[in-house]
């Protein structure tokens, strides 16, 4: 790894993004637009006494889910393009290290996700009155970690797709089960044992639990830090596996 090459690669990926104005607009506007939809959809739902309003419960989780899903998609397509247009093969004949490339994507899209998550969180708190016991800063932090998880899984999954059609199909395969089992629809401890076991090995479950901890507790809890560490570990594992899929020699 080299800091200069990592910085050059991060800059190159951000420059590519900058030339694509429409993608930037979608990245920034879509999560807030969806939160708006959610807000009006749930506006007339009665609140269960002793529980937070249903919008607060769902919106908090969505602040983690949106960056995860969007960055998974964007990264898997971007990396697939590197593979199919030959730039990856060429890069691997230069002094660039595999981790320079993977971390470059992680940092570049992580920065994009920071802007995205801050905007979405700003809208949730100020426009729609989201109320969490813990700080909004922690919510944004967890959202960005979720986004980097999406980047890492996207980098890994792009190795298993030959075409962009296949790459987008990994979205339902990788993202939807995690969303269904993360505890948003049914509490994880109320699921059948085997479903809970599956949920226990899916990283998004920990990301969502960390957000819920911030929702319930004024100070960061031990559970929240442990959950963040689990998500961080999943990111490292996905990146290492992703590095193993980058072959300098191919048939």
């Amino acid at each position: 790894m080299s800091l200069a090459i990592l910085a050059a690669t991060t800059g190159r990926i951000l420059r590519q993004l900058r030339h694509d104005r429409r993608t930037i607009a979608l990245l920034l506007v879509v999560p807030t637009a969806l939160l708006t939809l959610l807000y009006y959809m749930l506006a007339d739902q009665p609140t269960v006494p002793g529980q937070p309003p249903i919008f607060d419960r769902i919106a908090l989780v969505m602040l983690g889910v949106f960056p995860f899903v969007v960055m998974f998609l964007v990264t898997s397509i971007a990396m697939l393009r590197e593979r199919t247009t030959g730039t990856l093969e060429r890069l691997l004949t230069t002094p660039l290290g595999k981790l320079d490339l993977l971390f470059g994507y992680g940092i570049a899209f992580g920065l994009a996700a920071t802007v995205q998550a801050s905007l979405a969180a700003g809208a949730a708190y100020w426009l729609f009155g989201l109320d969490t016991a813990g700080s909004a800063g922690l919510v944004v932090l967890i959202s960005v970690v979720d986004a980097v998880l999406g980047v890492a899984l996207g980098l890994l999954c792009s190795a298993f797709a030959r075409t962009e059609f296949q790459a987008v199909q990994f979205m339902p395969v990788v993202v939807v089960p995690q969303l269904l089992l993360c505890g948003l629809f049914v509490r994880r401890d109320q699921m059948a044992g085997w479903l809970e076991a599956v949920s226990d090995v899916l990283p998004l479950s920990y990301a969502v639990e960390a957000l819920q901890e911030v929702g319930r507790h004024a100070e960061p809890t031990g559970t929240m830090w442990r959950d963040l560490a689990v998500v961080g570990g999943a990111i490292v594992v996905a990146l290492v596996l992703g590095a193993a899929t980058l072959r300098r020699r191919t048939g």
């Binding site: 090459i5 004949t93 002094p95 300098r248 020699r249 191919t250 048939g251």
Partner: protein, 247 residues
């Protein structure tokens, strides 16, 4: 004369098909070597083996004194892939600057290679909006960054007009004059006349490895197209299709 590339009994399979059948040759340093042969003859596979991105089944490839693909060679070898491999959503200048920075070089070097391929006027244009010929020159520019000791160019002149082709060949000759070793593949026989040495390849076997004059003498003709056909008929083991597959 020292050798830049030494290939011994190189065998490459792609899938179940054998595409290189035990190739051996030596490419001298500071020369322009043309690798010529019809489409599908194994030119790209041979060049990929020299760069070290091809899985090989047997034999050895030594490049600048080290096994092909050694990490230290990544700073010394420039590689142009056959399909342009640059970022379509970056400008020519942004592409060149990125590749320059991978070698620890700055904007001046990026500007130099852009001028060398005649793209100075299009430097600010997105690669995705360029013509096919311009796009492959943008890709070529990135392979020339850092004046590599060995430059492997897979069909760099395809799709270029005659004036530009002549200019590009002049650039390759200058690079060799400055001490670089240049290997250029082509399926256009008239480009062979611009090389110091020729490797003629057909169906995964070398049918000639000689100087330009040597190839002409062996075939008994100055016309390189005719020489190639003559060598195919006398040296190849496989039957020769009527059209020969070359222009």
């Amino acid at each position: 004369m020292t050798s830049a590339i030494e290939i011994r009994d190189l065998v490459v399979n792609r899938g179940k098909r054998r595409v290189l059948h035990g190739i051996s040759c030596t490419i001298p340093a500071g020369s322009v070597t043309g690798l010529l042969g019809p489409s599908g003859s194994g030119k790209t596979t041979l060049l990929r083996a020299v760069v070290g991105v091809q899985v090989v089944a047997g034999g050895s490839v030594t490049v600048l004194g080290e096994p092909a693909g050694s990490p230290r060679l990544r700073r010394r070898v420039g590689y142009l892939t056959q399909a342009p491999s640059v970022y379509a959503d970056l400008t020519v200048r942004e592409n060149a600057r990125y590749f320059a920075r991978l070698y620890g070089l700055g904007a001046a070097e990026a500007d130099r290679v852009i001028r060398a391929v005649g793209l100075a006027d299009a430097a600010g244009q997105l690669v995705g909006t360029l013509s096919g010929g311009q796009r492959s020159r943008a890709s070529l520019a990135c392979a020339l960054v850092g004046r590599p000791e060995l430059v492997i160019l897979d069909e760099p002149t395809v799709g270029q007009d005659p004036v530009l082709r002549a200019e590009l060949w002049e650039t390759f000759r200058e690079m060799a004059a400055d001490g670089s070793t240049v290997v250029v593949s082509s399926h256009v026989m008239d480009e062979a006349a611009r090389c110091d040495r020729l490797l003629l390849i057909r169906e995964g076997r070398l049918i000639a490895d000689d100087t330009l004059a040597g190839v002409r003498a062996a075939a008994g003709t100055d016309d390189l197209e005719a020489a190639f056909l003559h060598l195919v008929r006398t040296r190849a083991t496989a039957p020769v299709p009527a059209e020969g597959g070359t222009r």
